[in-house]
Structure formats: structure tokens, C-alpha cells
């Protein structure tokens, strides 16, 4: 690449860094004060884009940017008042889930309001042409963005260091209890910081409109980018977000400049992983203070006694008789339920006893599904071989992500697993020649002896039954107890010879492998496979299944999957915007039972 081309790529990276910074700074500020990682921050960014594109024809570009930022800011403040304010004392997992429910709702709202097509925005008046730099054309608008990033940074910095409000924000970031004790009015501080964060995200989205079209996939792309930026820069640090946005912006620009746009996310992930391993709290961040108060004590896990085993055997016999009674539709639904029961049980394996809540478990489901489809279609392997070998791909992915994941906890873990899943998704989405891109792969039909719905149902019953039995068995074996030991008291575990990271890594890999088995079964049952299989919403489906059934129960997650898949089937038939409906259900669950369903029931019946 020539010198001037290098320069242009560099400038391109700076321009891209602007919107990265705006989103990440808001995310970071909100986290600093509220300790909530707002998964919906990318959705606010997306909302900013859509609103700007929508308003621009009427108001002109600049007014549209301003209005979009303000509308999104108001939305953010309302969300804080209506939802998040009630969740500050709730477990971290529920907070994350609630913000995720918002993602689903906002996305379906955008679909309803603006339709599924990408929407091209207007150019910025006066900045629509190109300037010549070192003999090459460069969009004038991008120069504006390059200047805008540092300007916003300086303004934010001044706001935080020169104003009373900023001092309060910093005090709350340093020490919440202390700030509360000093009589800071937390309510308005929190609402204000959400408003400010949303304002930044909305402005970032609106300003990106001349560079890229508004689309429904922007939310998750923006949030996983923002996760990478805040993790690299340090959660809670605005200068860190600025620095990291520049780094990631450049990484992206050069990957795309060299023609490797497919691997951009992978390179980002590597940068993030390296930073996490070397400086787990980011380049400019500080180690998080350990949460005060005793750690939650998890209740013992249930056990399958003789009676339960008998009941399960009866259930199996009943299920084996289903093809005699049910029609094809029922069999397909039942196959789905079996597949997702295995999927949910595999997530529970690492999330409950292992204590590692993965926000990207669908990645392994998808790797199994794509593995099976690719083996069948590209390697012309027989069905049996495809089913048997595909889970190995999931094992590989889980081993890779898990190696990093076991070094992290809480929100960092959630962000890393989500970012990893988003990368796998984007590979599936973009690598047209192999994965079929957004269309996916079709013609993934099993061998003739499995072609009938009932034969395939029996296969699913057998494989999922055995898979679930194996996982449950492992939880009652030393492996499961060792996982729980590492979760309950890592120091004690270490002091009796347990390598906590290793057992968690093994657990993560096993969970991924079984999710991969479910994925392979899924691919053949549908006959086709698309990136949606491993999308992040699918990961959240799994979390919801597990939480519905109860994280700290043994068989609960399987029942959670049954309920969820059945509900989804009903909803998808009756309701057009069923993702939003699921989001609403999740929100309701989280708001009404902030200690989790299981915790609620326990409290109810303990009295």
C-alpha cells in the first residue's frame, strides 16, 4: 500500500472512531455510575440513526441530528425511570437480561416503524463532496467527524471535571455508597447519566447516517463494538474509551482497507482478548472494587432420586409413543423442544453449577449447525458422520472462547462471550462463499432412513435424551461438584488442590459441545440453516429458558425450554412482533420477580 493510501486508511479509521467513541463513552459513563452494562446502548444508537433518517427530509440534516440526539436522550431517561431504576439491587444477570429485553423491543419497534429495508440517509449539506489529500479523494464529512470526536471528548471531560454535576458523577463512579452517604440525590443523578449516555449514543447514530445506512442489524453490531472499546479502554473511563475507540477504529479501517473486512471482528476480538489477559481492567481503567457484602450462597442442586428417575422413565416412554398419536406438526414442534431442551441444559451446566453466565451460548449451537450443514453440503459426508463430527466445531469454538472466559467474571464475562458470539455470527453472515451469507445454507436434509418426521423425532429423542442424561449425570459426579466448588469458594477450592480455571474451562467446553450436538440435530431437522441460528437473541433465548426453569435447580432448565419453545411457537403464530413480545415477557419477569422466579417461589413458600 502506498504512503497516501496508508494516510487515507488512517484518516478513515479516525472518522470511524468518532461514533465508536460516542457509543462507548455513554456505555462507560452509565456503567461507572450505575454498575449496569446497558446492552440496549447499541439499540439507542440504532434509534438515533433511524430517527435522523426519518426526520431529515422534513427538518434538514443538521436539525435532524440534533432532534434525534434529544429524542434518544429522552428515551434513555424514560427507560431509566421506568425500568432500570427498579433493578439497581437486583442480581447482575437480571439487569443484563432486562437491558437485553429492551434490545428486542427496540428492534421490533424499528421494524414496525420503518420496515425491514435498510434506509439510506441524506448527505450532510456542505459536506457532501470530497477533498483531496495527498492526491486522493477523501470525504469532507469524514474530516468533520475526525474533528468532532476530540471536541466531544474535551466537552465531556470539562463537564465531568469542571461542573458540580460532573463532580457528583465522578464521586458516584468512585464510590457509590460514599456518594449516597454524602446526600447526593441518586435518582436524578442516575436518570441524568442515562440521559447523557443515550444522548451520546443517539448523536453517534445520527452522525453516522451519511456514512452508512440505518438497518436493523446495527444495534448488535454497535453494542459489540462498544463492548470491545470499553473493555480495551477500561469500563468507567472516558479517556479510556477515547483511546480505545481510536485503536479499534484504526484496526477496523486497516482490516477493511487491506480487503479483509470479514475478519475485522475477529481482529477486534483478538485485541480485546489480549488486553483482557494482560490488563483485565483495560488500558486506562481501574480494577473494580470487589462488591461489598457476602457473596450470595447458592442453594444445593437437586438430585434425581429413585422417584424422579421413575417419573423421567415414564416420561420417556410417553414421548416414545408420541408419533403414534401426534400429527406431523406436533412431531416437528416436539423435535424442536427436545433440541432446545438439550441446548438449555448445556447452558445451565456451565451457568448454574459453573457460575459462568454465557451471553453467547448460541454461538456453539450455530457452530454445530453450520458444521453439520457444511460437512454434508461441502464435504459430502453422510448424515451420520456430519452429526457426529459437527459438535467438534462447537467444541473448538467453546474451548477458544472459554479459555478467555474463565479468566473473567460478571459483566466482563458477559461482554466477552457476547462479543465472541457476535464474531461467529458475523463470519457466518459475511463469508458468502462458504456459509451462504445472510441466506444461509439450504438442502440440509438427512439420509433417507431419517427423512420421515417420526424417524427424525426418534433420533432427536434418543440423542437429546442421552445428552441431557449425561450432563445431569456429570453434575452429580465429581466433575459437577468440582464446578460448584470453584463457584462457591474459589479460594477454598484452590486450597484443596482444585484448578478452578481448568475445571471451568472443561465445563465450558463440554457445555459448548452439547450445544453443538443440539445445533447439528437442529440443522437436519429444519433442512436449512441461517445466521439467525447463532445470533445473539438466540443466546438470550437460552438464558431465558434457564432462568424460567431456575438456575439452581437440576431439571428446571429443561422445563424452561419446553415452556419457552411452546410459548414462542404460539406467539410466532399469533403475534407478528414476537421477539418484542418475548422481550416484554422477560421485562415483566425481571421487574415482578427481581430475585428470579426460583427465588420468588422460595420466598413465597418459606413463609
Amino acid at each position: 500500500m502506498s504512503g497516501s493510501a496508508l494516510l487515507l486508511q488512517f484518516l478513515n479509521g479516525l472518522a470511524g472512531a468518532n461514533s465508536l467513541f460516542l457509543v462507548a463513552a455513554g456505555l462507560s459513563l452509565i456503567f461507572g455510575v450505575s454498575r449496569i452494562v446497558n446492552f440496549a446502548h447499541g439499540s439507542l444508537y440504532m434509534l438515533g440513526m433511524y430517527v435522523a433518517v426519518w426526520l431529515a427530509p422534513a427538518t434538514g440534516f443538521w436539525a435532524a441530528v440534533l432532534l434525534a440526539a434529544l429524542i434518544v436522550a429522552a428515551t434513555g431517561a424514560l427507560v431509566e425511570i421506568g425500568v432500570l431504576r427498579r433493578l439497581y439491587q437486583a442480581p447482575e444477570l437480571l439487569q443484563l437480561l432486562a437491558t437485553f429485553a429492551l434490545v428486542l423491543i427496540v428492534r421490533d419497534f424499528a421494524l414496525w416503524a420503518w420496515g425491514p429495508q435498510d434506509m439510506l440517509g441524506p448527505r450532510a449539506p456542505g459536506f457532501g463532496d470530497a477533498v483531496f489529500i495527498a492526491g486522493a479523494a477523501f470525504p469532507r464529512y469524514d474530516l468533520l467527524l475526525i474533528a468532532l470526536g476530540p471536541l466531544v471528548f474535551v466537552l465531556l471531560h470539562a463537564l465531568l471535571t469542571r461542573t458540580r454535576w460532573g463532580t457528583l458523577v465522578r464521586a458516584a463512579t468512585e464510590d457509590r455508597e460514599m456518594a449516597a452517604a454524602l446526600g447526593v440525590n441518586q435518582r436524578w443523578l442516575f436518570t441524568g447519566i442515562f440521559g447523557l449516555g443515550a444522548l451520546l449514543a443517539g448523536a453517534g447514530g445520527a452522525l453516522a447516517v451519511p456514512r452508512e445506512p440505518a438497518s436493523l442489524a446495527v444495534d448488535l453490531a454497535a453494542i459489540s463494538d462498544a463492548f470491545v472499546v470499553v473493555v480495551v479502554g477500561g469500563l468507567g473511563s472516558v479517556p479510556g474509551a477515547f483511546l480505545a475507540a481510536l485503536v479499534i477504529g484504526e484496526v477496523k479501517a486497516f482490516c477493511i482497507g487491506y480487503g479483509y473486512s470479514e475478519i475485522t471482528l475477529a481482529v477486534e476480538f483478538i485485541v480485546m482478548a489480549v488486553v483482557l489477559v494482560l490488563r483485565p481492567w483495560g488500558l486506562l481503567g481501574k480494577p473494580l472494587p470487589a462488591p461489598r457484602g457476602a457473596a450470595a450462597v447458592e442453594p444445593p442442586l437437586g438430585r434425581i432420586d429413585r422417584k424422579a428417575a421413575l417419573a423421567l422413565a415414564c416420561l420417556a416412554a410417553l414421548l416414545a409413543g408420541l408419533p403414534l398419536a401426534g400429527d406431523e406438526y406436533t412431531l416437528v414442534l416436539a423435535t424442536d423442544i427436545l433440541v432446545f431442551a438439550l441446548f438449555a441444559v448445556s447452558l445451565h451446566f456451565i451457568m448454574g453449577p459453573g457460575g459462568l453466565a454465557s451471553f453467547g451460548h448460541a454461538a456453539y449451537l450455530g457452530l454445530g449447525a453450520y458444521g453439520a450443514a457444511l460437512l454434508l453440503l461441502r464435504a459430502h459426508a453422510p448424515t451420520e458422520a456430519a452429526l457426529a463430527l459437527a459438535p467438534l466445531l462447537a467444541l473448538g469454538g467453546a474451548a477458544l472462547c472459554g479459555w478467555f472466559a474463565v479468566r473473567l467474571a460478571g459483566v466482563y464475562l458477559a461482554m466477552l462471550t457476547l462479543a465472541f458470539a457476535q464474531i461467529v455470527w458475523s463470519i457466518a453472515f459475511q463469508w458468502d462463499s462458504v456459509t451462504g451469507g445472510s441466506n444461509g445454507l439450504i438442502g440440509v436434509w438427512p439420509a433417507p432412513w431419517l427423512a420421515s418426521k417420526s424417524a427424525y423425532y426418534y433420533l432427536a429423542l434418543l440423542v437429546c435424551g442421552i445428552g441431557i442424561a449425561l450432563l445431569w449425570r456429570a453434575l452429580g459426579a465429581p466433575l459437577g461438584y468440582t464446578l460448584r466448588a470453584g463457584r462457591d469458594a474459589p479460594l477454598r477450592a484452590d486450597a484443596i488442590g482444585i484448578d478452578v480455571r481448568r475445571v471451568q474451562w472443561i465445563g465450558f467446553a463440554i457445555a459448548g459441545t452439547f450445544a453443538g450436538i443440539a445445533g447439528a440435530l437442529y440443522a437436519f431437522s429444519k433442512g436449512s440453516i441461517s445466521p439467525e441460528t447463532l445470533s445473539v437473541p438466540r443466546s438470550v433465548d437460552a438464558l431465558v429458558m434457564v432462568l424460567l426453569g431456575g438456575v439452581q435447580t437440576l431439571t428446571g432448565p429443561a422445563w424452561g425450554a419446553v415452556l419457552f419453545v411452546w410459548l414462542q411457537d404460539e406467539l410466532a403464530r399469533e403475534v407478528e412482533y414476537w421477539r418484542a413480545a418475548i422481550g416484554a415477557v422477560v421485562l415483566a419477569l425481571v421487574l415482578v420477580f427481581p430475585r428470579g422466579l426460583a427465588g420468588y417461589l422460595k420466598e413465597r413458600f418459606a413463609r
Binding site: P300, G476, A477, R484
Partner: protein, 246 residues
């Protein structure tokens, strides 16, 4: 026979010098108490001995093997068992399962995916619980135990690997006074019968002077007196430290 040898152990946290060049040794079958006011560095010393922290300088050897630079789990396999000042047990498991966990680890069967855990080494776990007087509560969840009982469970866990060195950080905190004497007497009996070197911290001076073979006095990270209880009791600096009198 000398089991543990500590030489010039030094550790600081940022600006705080928690230990400054501490040297001592503990023999097989010997019961040694570390005393000193809060913040003297006792817990830090234990955390260095079991590998939870790395020393800034100094050496630690057990039976001639250096422990420095090893992870706690490896040090445990070399024969160091410990209890924590703030008890650490597996709250989602029963008392018996806590001890079984240590036994399973000793037998290197941690990753076994199919064996039924509740049946593994249950008899041996019960024998250990019997020794510390916790057999009646073996089936209770650890999360529901009284603090003093948790300390006993920790002791049973620490004994599971037949340790050469047993570290007990304030093992009697939270116990009634007659219970305390009994626990230390138990530790003493273990030290003698099983040939375990025992190092413990304790605030109750009656117990310390009544049971320990030797006493180490730490103050602000320095060892200011070492010796038999009778000797340490009359040491001028110790008197000054505890009684404020010259």
C-alpha cells in the same frame, strides 16, 4: 524433625509493609502459635505459606522443598492444609460433601464425569468429621452452620490430605470459650499422633500459653519474640505490647 523453614519472609501491599524479614521454623508434631495485635501480619504470613500470595523476598521450604512460586493447589498437594480466618466452605454442599470434595481431589478424581459423588469416600469423610466432632451434622448444608461449626468443618477439610503442615488462622473465633480449648487440644492431639506441624493464630492468651509448644510474637510485620510459652510470657517487649507497661 524440622518440617517448615521460613527465612527472611517479606511482603508489602503498595506502601504497607505487612511482613519484614520474618524467619522461623516448625517441627513435625509441634504446635506453634503466632500471636500479635490485629494488623500484625499473621494472615499475610499464612497466605504466603500456602501460596495465595507471593512473597517479595524470602524463602519457604517444607521438608526441604521450596514452596515459593507454587500455586496454592500445588502446595496443598505437597502437604499443606489450611483453614481461613474468614471461613471458606462450599455453601451449596453438605458438610460431608465438603470433606468428600477434598478427598476426591486428593485421589485426583476431580474431573470424573460419571462416578456418583455422594458415594465417594463417604466413610472416610465421616471418620474425619467424627474426629472434629461434626459427624452428627454431616448431612446439613454448610450454608446453615454456626460459625464455630464451620471452623470445625474447615479443619476436617484441611486434614483430608493428611497434611504435613496445618495452618489455622484464628480457628476458634466465634466459639464459646470451653469449645475453644477443646479445639486447640484436638489440634494438639493431631499434631502428636499424626506428626503434623501445626501453626495457628489465636487471640485468647490462656489458650495460647496453655497449649502451644512455642509462641511467635509478630508486631508490625516483625518477629519480636520467639520461644517457649514461659519465656515469651515474661519477655519485656511482649509485656510492653500486650500490657502497655514497660
Amino acid at each position: 524433625m524440622t518440617a517448615l523453614v521460613v527465612q527472611g519472609l517479606t511482603k508489602s501491599y503498595g506502601g504497607v509493609q505487612a511482613l519484614r524479614g520474618v524467619s522461623f521454623s516448625v517441627s513435625t508434631g509441634e504446635l506453634v502459635a503466632i500471636i500479635g495485635p490485629n494488623g500484625a501480619g499473621k494472615t499475610t504470613c499464612f497466605n504466603l505459606l500456602n501460596g495465595q500470595l507471593a512473597p517479595d523476598a524470602g524463602d519457604i521450604t517444607l521438608d526441604g522443598r521450596s514452596l515459593v512460586g507454587r500455586a496454592p493447589r500445588d502446595i496443598w498437594r505437597l502437604g499443606v492444609g489450611r483453614t481461613f480466618q474468614i471461613t471458606a466452605t462450599f455453601g451449596s454442599m453438605s458438610v460431608r460433601e465438603n470433606v468428600q470434595m477434598a478427598l476426591v481431589s486428593r485421589e485426583r478424581r476431580l474431573y470424573a464425569p460419571f462416578a456418583a459423588f455422594p458415594r465417594l469416600y463417604a466413610a472416610e469423610a465421616d471418620a474425619l468429621l467424627e474426629r472434629v466432632g461434626m459427624l452428627e451434622q454431616a448431612a446439613r448444608p454448610c450454608a446453615l452452620l454456626a460459625y464455630g461449626d464451620l471452623k470445625r468443618v474447615e479443619l476436617a477439610i484441611a486434614l483430608a490430605n493428611r497434611p504435613r503442615l496445618l495452618l489455622m488462622d484464628e480457628p476458634t473465633a466465634g466459639m464459646a470459650s470451653e469449645e475453644r480449648g477443646a479445639l486447640i487440644a484436638l489440634a494438639r492431639a493431631l499434631a502428636k499422633t499424626d506428626g503434623i506441624a501445626v501453626l495457628f493464630t489465636e487471640h485468647d492468651m490462656e489458650i495460647v500459653f496453655g497449649h502451644a509448644d512455642r509462641v511467635l510474637v509478630l508486631h508490625a510485620g516483625e518477629l519480636i519474640a520467639v520461644g517457649a510459652p514461659e519465656v515469651v510470657r515474661v519477655d519485656a517487649r511482649v509485656q510492653e505490647l500486650y500490657l502497655g507497661a514497660p
